[in-house]
C-alpha cells in the first residue's frame, strides 16, 4: 500500500467495445435472476426469503429475493462484531489495509457485473452505474491508505522527562445503514471506513438494493475480512431501528432521509440499560440544492450543467440541483433554452444506452413527484414537462421544469428526490445567497459566474458543504471533492476526505513519566 491514491478510471463508454462488454455482463446477470440474498452473520447464511427487490423499469422482474434479519439476527451480528473487533482491531493497520486492497481488486474484477446489477436493481443508467462501482473501489483504496496514516498518530509536544503518545483506537461496533441511490458506493464507503480503522461492522442495506450489498459483503469475505467482522442484515426500517437501539453498537453510519436521520440521533442519544458508552452518529441526509446563475454566465455551459445536475439519475442524488436561481437579466433566455433542452431528454429503461432519465426507485416516489408538481401547477406556476413517456408499468416520472412558483411552495421548499427543477428569477447573486441562507438544508450549491470577486464572495458566505463553481453540482470524487453537508443536511462529515475516519476511532493519549530519582530513564 505504498502507492499514492488515484481514482479508479471510469469506463470509456464512448468506445463501442466497452459498451458491448457491459451489455454482455447484463445478459449474464439477467440469466441468474432472481438472486437470493441471505442474512449473513459470522459467515453463516440464513436464506428464508421474505421480501424482494425489483427492476424499477419493469417491476414484474424480480432482481433478488432477500431474507429479512430478525431481532435475533441483529443481536447475534452485534455480538459477533464485538468479538471480531478485538482481533480485527488488534491486527496491524497495514495488514487490514492489505486485505482491503484485495477487496478492491475483487470489486474491480467484478466491475461490469456490479454495474449491471446497479442498472437492474436501482435503475442507474450505465455511466452512473459504472461511476458508482468506481467510487466504491475508490473508497476502499482511499480509506485503507488513510487508516495506515492515521495509525501512525500525530506528533505531540515532548519535554524532557515525559513521553507522550497519541493513538487512535477503533470504537468497536459500527452499524452501517445505507441508501439505495448509490447502492454500491455508499454502502461500501461507510463499511470500509469502519473496517479499515479496525471496527466490526453490521451492514443494513436499503430494502430496495439488497443484491448490490451482498456483492460487497462477498467481496470483503473473499478478500479475507474475518467472517465475524462483517454481517449482512437485509430488511426494512425495523432492522435499522434494532441496530440503532442495540447497546453493543458504538457508531452508527447513516446515509438517507433527514427524517430517519433525526430519529436515529434521538434514539442514539439515549443509552440503553447496560450501555457504557456514548453512541456516535455519522449522518448524511438530504439536500435542497440551488444552482445560482449570474448575469455574466455562459448560457452554453449553464444549460447542460443544469440538465445533468437536475435530471441525471432522475434527480435521485442528494447532490442533485433542484432550484435554479437565475439573474433576472438572462432568465428568459435561460428558461427558453432549458425548456428546449428538456424536450431532448429520453426517458426510458436504465439498461438502454442513450437514456437520459431512468425510472424512479419506487411507485411512491412517482406519486410524490406528481403531488408536488400538481400543487405547483394549481398554484399558478408554469410547468413544462417531457411529453413522450415510455409505456409499461415502470416507475417513470416526467422530467419537469417549474417556473414562477411561490417561495413557500413545496417545489421550492421540500426535497423532492425526483426529476423536478424549480427555476426562479433573482435580482442579483446577493438575493440568491439570501434565499440559500434561508434554507434548512446546506449540502451542495452551484454557481455560474465569470467574475472572480463574485465567486470569492459566494464561497465566503455559502453555508453548504460543497460549492461547485462553473460546473454541475453532482459527481463528487473521492479524494478530490470530500462530500457532505451542513445544517440539517448532515453533521459535517466528509466522505472521501482526509478526516472522515476520525468518526470511527477514539483517541487515546498515553503519558509516561520517564524520570526516576531525578534521572531521565
Amino acid at each position: 500500500m505504498t502507492t499514492t491514491f488515484r481514482n479508479e478510471p471510469l469506463l470509456e463508454l464512448r468506445r463501442a467495445p466497452e459498451r458491448e462488454r457491459l451489455l454482455a455482463a447484463l445478459s449474464a446477470v439477467d440469466a441468474t435472476l432472481p438472486l437470493a440474498v441471505p442474512v449473513i452473520v459470522a459467515g453463516s447464511r440464513r436464506d428464508e426469503p421474505s421480501f424482494a427487490s425489483v427492476d424499477p423499469g419493469a417491476p414484474e422482474r424480480v432482481v433478488a429475493n432477500a431474507t429479512s434479519a430478525t431481532a435475533g439476527d441483529v443481536d447475534d451480528a452485534v455480538r459477533a462484531a464485538q468479538r471480531a473487533a478485538r482481533t480485527w482491531g488488534a491486527t496491524p493497520a497495514s495488514e487490514r489495509a492489505a486485505i482491503l486492497a484485495r477487496a478492491a481488486g475483487e470489486l474491480r474484477r467484478r466491475r461490469h457485473e456490479l454495474a449491471a446489477l446497479a442498472v437492474r436493481e436501482c435503475a442507474k443508467p450505465w455511466a452512473e452505474a459504472d461511476a458508482d462501482v468506481c467510487e466504491a473501489i475508490d473508497f476502499v483504496e482511499y480509506y485503507a491508505r488513510q487508516a495506515v496514516l492515521l495509525d501512525a498518530g500525530p506528533q505531540l509536544l515532548q519535554l524532557p522527562g515525559e513521553r507522550n503518545t497519541l493513538h487512535y483506537r477503533p470504537r468497536g461496533v459500527v452499524a452501517v445503514i445505507a441508501p439505495w441511490n448509490f447502492p454500491v458506493a455508499i454502502a461500501t464507503g461507510m463499511t470500509v471506513a469502519a473496517l479499515a480503522t479496525g471496527n466490526g461492522v453490521c451492514l443494513k442495506p436499503a430494502e430496495q438494493s439488497p443484491a448490490c450489498a451482498l456483492a460487497i459483503v462477498d467481496a470483503l469475505l473473499v478478500a479475507g475480512v474475518p467472517a465475524e467482522a462483517i454481517a449482512l442484515l437485509p430488511g426494512e426500517g425495523d432492522v435499522g431501528a434494532a441496530l440503532v437501539a442495540h447497546p453493543g453498537v458504538h457508531t452508527i453510519a447513516f446515509t438517507g432521509s433527514g427524517e430517519v436521520g433525526l430519529e436515529i440521533m434521538r434514539r442514539a442519544a439515549d443509552p440503553a440499560p447496560g450501555q457504557r458508552h456514548l453512541k456516535r452518529v455519522v449522518a448524511e441526509m438530504g439536500g435542497k440544492n440551488c444552482l445560482v446563475v449570474d448575469g455574466d454566465a455562459d448560457v452554453d455551459d449553464v444549460v447542460p450543467a443544469l440538465i445533468a445536475s437536475a435530471f441525471g439519475f432522475a434527480g435521485q442524488k442528494c447532490s442533485a440541483a433542484s432550484r435554479a436561481l437565475v439573474h433576472e437579466r438572462i432568465i428568459d433566455h435561460v428558461l427558453e433554452r432549458l425548456a428546449g433542452a428538456l424536450d431532448t431528454l429520453l426517458v426510458g429503461p436504465a439498461d438502454r444506452f442513450g437514456v437520459d432519465v431512468p425510472p424512479l426507485i419506487e411507485r411512491s416516489s412517482v406519486e410524490r413527484v406528481e403531488r408536488i408538481v400538481g400543487a405547483a401547477r394549481s398554484d399558478g406556476a408554469t410547468v413544462h414537462r417531457v411529453e413522450r413517456m415510455p409505456a409499461g408499468d415502470g416507475y417513470f416520472a416526467a422530467p419537469t421544469l417549474v417556473a414562477g412558483a411561490r417561495q413557500d411552495a413545496a417545489v421550492v421548499q421540500q426535497e423532492i428526490f425526483g426529476p423536478v427543477l424549480s427555476v426562479e428569477a433573482v435580482r442579483d447573486v446577493d438575493e440568491a445567497c439570501e434565499r440559500i441562507d434561508a434554507q434548512a438544508h446546506a449540502l451542495t450549491c452551484g454557481l455560474f459566474s465569470r467574475n472572480p470577486r463574485t465567486i470569492a464572495e459566494v464561497a465566503r458566505r455559502t453555508p453548504v458543504g460543497n460549492l461547485y463553481v462553473n460546473r454541475g453540482t453532482t459527481g463528487a470524487m473521492v479524494g478530490r471533492q470530500p462530500f457532505g453537508g451542513n445544517r440539517l443536511s448532515g453533521n459535517g462529515t466528509k466522505a472521501g476526505g482526509p478526516d472522515y475516519l476520525m468518526h470511527f476511532v477514539e483517541p487515546v493519549v498515553v503519558t509516561e513519566n520517564t524520570v526516576r530519582h531525578g534521572l531521565v530513564v
Binding site: R6, N7, E8, P9, L10, E12, L13, R14, A16, R19, W126, A127, G295, D296, A297, D298, V299, D300, V303, P304, I307, R329, R337, A339, G340, A341, D343, T344, L346, F353, G354, D356, R450, N451, P452, R453
Partner: protein
C-alpha cells in the same frame, strides 16, 4: 470523371529524406520571407501584443477571461468591473497593466475603460471573423478569391442544446449555400482554384459542425445523435449538390469522432449522393489512432462508387487541451499524443500517405506550420502530383500572410472563414487566441521571435 488509377504506387519512388529536408528548408524560408502586406499592418501590432501577452501567463489568463466574458456583459461598467477583478489576480504589473488596473477601478475612468475593452475585443474578433452574416461577408470572400485564395465558410453559433437550435443552424447553412452560390457566380475566373485533375472544384465551400446540427450528441450513445443529425445533413448534401457547392464536415472532440465519421461516410454512400455533391471530412493527426482511422477511410473510398473523390482535410487537431484534461480527470489514456513532435511526425506520415494514394482522395493540408506545409508541397512535387492536386488551407486571421505567400508560389490555397456575430464567435475567438499564444505553437514561436531554421527541421 471517377479515376481508376492504381491506389498503391506513388508516381516516383520515395525521395531520400535528406534531399526532401533541404528542399523543405528552402521553400520554408521563401514562404517566410514574404513580408506582411499593408492590409495586415494593424495585425502586426496585434501580433506584437500577443507575443507580449504570451510571455506572461497571468496576463494571458486575464486577457482570455476578458475576451470570454465580454459578450455576456450588460454594459461597459460591468466589463470594467470584470477587468478590474481579472487584473487583481495579476501579480506583477507592467506599466500598461497598472494603468488599466487603475482605470478600471477609478470611478470616472471606469466607463471609458469598459468601452475601450469592448472596442478592443470587437477589433480582435474582426481579425478572425469575416462578417456577421453570409451576405455581409460576401464582399470579403470575393476579395479573398480575387487575391488568389479559395474559401470555406464556417457559421459560428451558440452551442446546440435544443432541437430548434439544431434546425436553425441547418437553416442558416442551407441559406448560406444558396446565398453564396448566387454571389460566387459573379466572381472572376481563377483557373488554379477551380479545377484539379479529378475535375471541377466548387467555388462555394461550406464547413459544417455535426454537433451544431443536433442536441442529441451522447458520447455513450452515438446512434441517437447520428439519427437526428442525418436528416439535417441529408438536406444540406442535397442543397450542396443542387447548387454545385462543396460540403465539408469539420471534426470535433473524441466524444463525437466516431459518430461524425460513420455518419458522413454512410450518407455519402447513399445512392442519391452518388453523383455529388463534392464532400469532405477531417482527419486529426494528434490522435494516436489517426492512421488506423485513415485505413478505414481509404477502404471506404476504394469501395465507394462516387463521382467525386472524397476530400480529406488533414489537421493536427484543435482540442488538445480538452482531450488531455478529460482523459486525466477520468483516468483514461489520452487519445492524443502528449508530445507536440509526435503530432508533427504523424502529420507528415499521413501527409505522405494521402499523397501516395492520389487520386483516390483529394488531400488538403491545413496547417500554419511552415515545416508541415512545405513538407507536403515538396513531397507532392516529388511524387509527381500536379500543383493543383494539393490543397493548402489556412484560417482567416492566423494564416493570411501564409496564404499570400502560397499564392505567390503558385500554390493552391483555401482560407477558412468564420461568419457570425461577436456573441456567437467568442468561443471560436478564444480558441484561436489560445492557439496563437500557446508555447508549443509554431505561430506563437514565430511572433515571439524564434529563429526560423530550427523550426523547419524534420520533427
Amino acid at each position: 470523371m471517377p479515376t481508376t488509377a492504381p491506389v498503391e504506387a506513388p508516381r516516383s519512388g520515395p525521395a531520400p529524406e535528406a534531399a526532401i529536408d533541404a528542399e523543405v528548408l528552402e521553400l520554408g524560408r521563401r514562404l517566410a520571407r514574404r513580408r506582411p502586406s499593408v492590409r495586415n499592418l494593424s495585425r502586426v501590432a496585434n501580433d506584437r501584443m500577443m507575443a507580449l501577452v504570451a510571455r506572461d501567463p497571468q496576463l494571458r489568463a486575464a486577457l482570455f477571461r476578458l475576451v470570454d466574458v465580454a459578450p455576456a456583459c450588460a454594459d461597459a461598467d460591468e466589463l470594467a468591473a470584470h477587468l478590474d477583478a481579472f487584473l487583481s489576480d495579476v501579480e506583477h504589473h507592467s506599466p500598461p497593466v497598472a494603468l488599466a488596473a487603475r482605470a478600471s477601478t477609478a470611478r470616472g475612468a471606469r466607463h471609458a475603460t469598459g468601452r475601450i475593452g469592448f472596442a478592443a475585443v470587437r477589433q480582435m474578433a474582426g481579425r478572425f471573423i469575416v462578417g456577421e452574416t453570409p451576405a455581409s461577408a460576401a464582399p470579403a470572400l470575393r476579395r479573398l478569391w480575387e487575391r488568389g485564395s479559395a474559401i470555406s465558410v464556417d457559421l459560428l453559433g451558440e452551442a446546440t442544446v435544443t432541437h430548434d437550435e439544431g434546425r436553425a443552424y441547418a437553416d442558416r447553412c442551407d441559406e448560406t449555400l444558396v446565398t453564396l452560390a448566387a454571389a460566387a457566380q459573379q466572381w472572376p475566373a481563377r483557373p488554379l482554384l477551380e479545377r484539379d485533375s479529378a475535375g471541377v472544384l466548387p467555388r462555394v465551400n461550406l464547413s459544417v459542425k455535426v454537433t451544431a446540427l443536433t442536441p442529441l450528441i451522447r458520447a455513450e450513445a452515438p446512434e441517437r445523435g447520428r439519427a437526428d443529425a442525418a436528416d439535417h445533413l441529408r438536406r444540406l448534401l442535397r442543397r450542396a449538390r443542387d447548387v454545385g457547392a462543396h460540403l465539408h464536415i469539420d471534426m470535433e472532440s473524441m466524444d463525437s469522432r466516431d459518430l461524425i465519421l460513420e455518419l458522413v461516410l454512410e450518407l455519402l454512400s447513399e445512392p442519391e449522393f452518388k453523383a455529388g455533391p463534392s464532400a469532405g471530412i477531417v482527419l486529426q493527426a494528434y490522435l494516436r489512432d489517426s492512421e488506423e482511422t485513415l485505413d478505414g477511410i481509404l477502404d471506404w473510398a476504394g469501395a465507394a462508387d462516387r463521382a467525386v473523390p472524397l476530400a480529406i482535410r488533414l489537421v493536427k487537431g484543435a482540442y488538445w487541451d480538452h482531450e488531455t484534461i478529460e482523459a486525466l480527470q477520468n483516468g483514461w489514456v489520452p487519445p492524443v499524443y502528449t508530445e507536440k513532435v509526435e503530432s508533427d511526425r504523424c502529420y507528415e506520415r499521413i501527409t505522405r500517405r494521402l499523397i501516395d494514394v492520389h487520386p483516390l482522395v483529394r488531400p488538403a493540408i491545413a496547417s500554419h506550420n511552415l515545416r508541415s506545409v512545405a513538407h507536403a508541397v515538396v513531397y507532392a512535387r516529388r511524387a509527381g502530383l500536379a500543383t493543383h492536386d494539393l490543397e493548402l488551407q489556412v484560417l482567416r486571421g492566423l494564416g493570411d500572410d501564409l496564404q499570400d505567400a502560397l499564392a505567390a508560389e503558385g500554390l493552391r490555397g483555401r482560407t477558412y472563414c468564420p461568419v457570425g456575430d461577436m456573441v456567437a464567435g467568442m468561443a471560436y475567438l478564444v480558441r484561436r487566441l489560445l492557439e496563437n499564444t500557446s508555447n508549443d505553437s509554431f505561430l506563437a514561436s514565430r511572433t515571439g521571435g524564434a529563429a526560423l531554421d530550427p523550426l523547419l527541421i524534420r520533427p
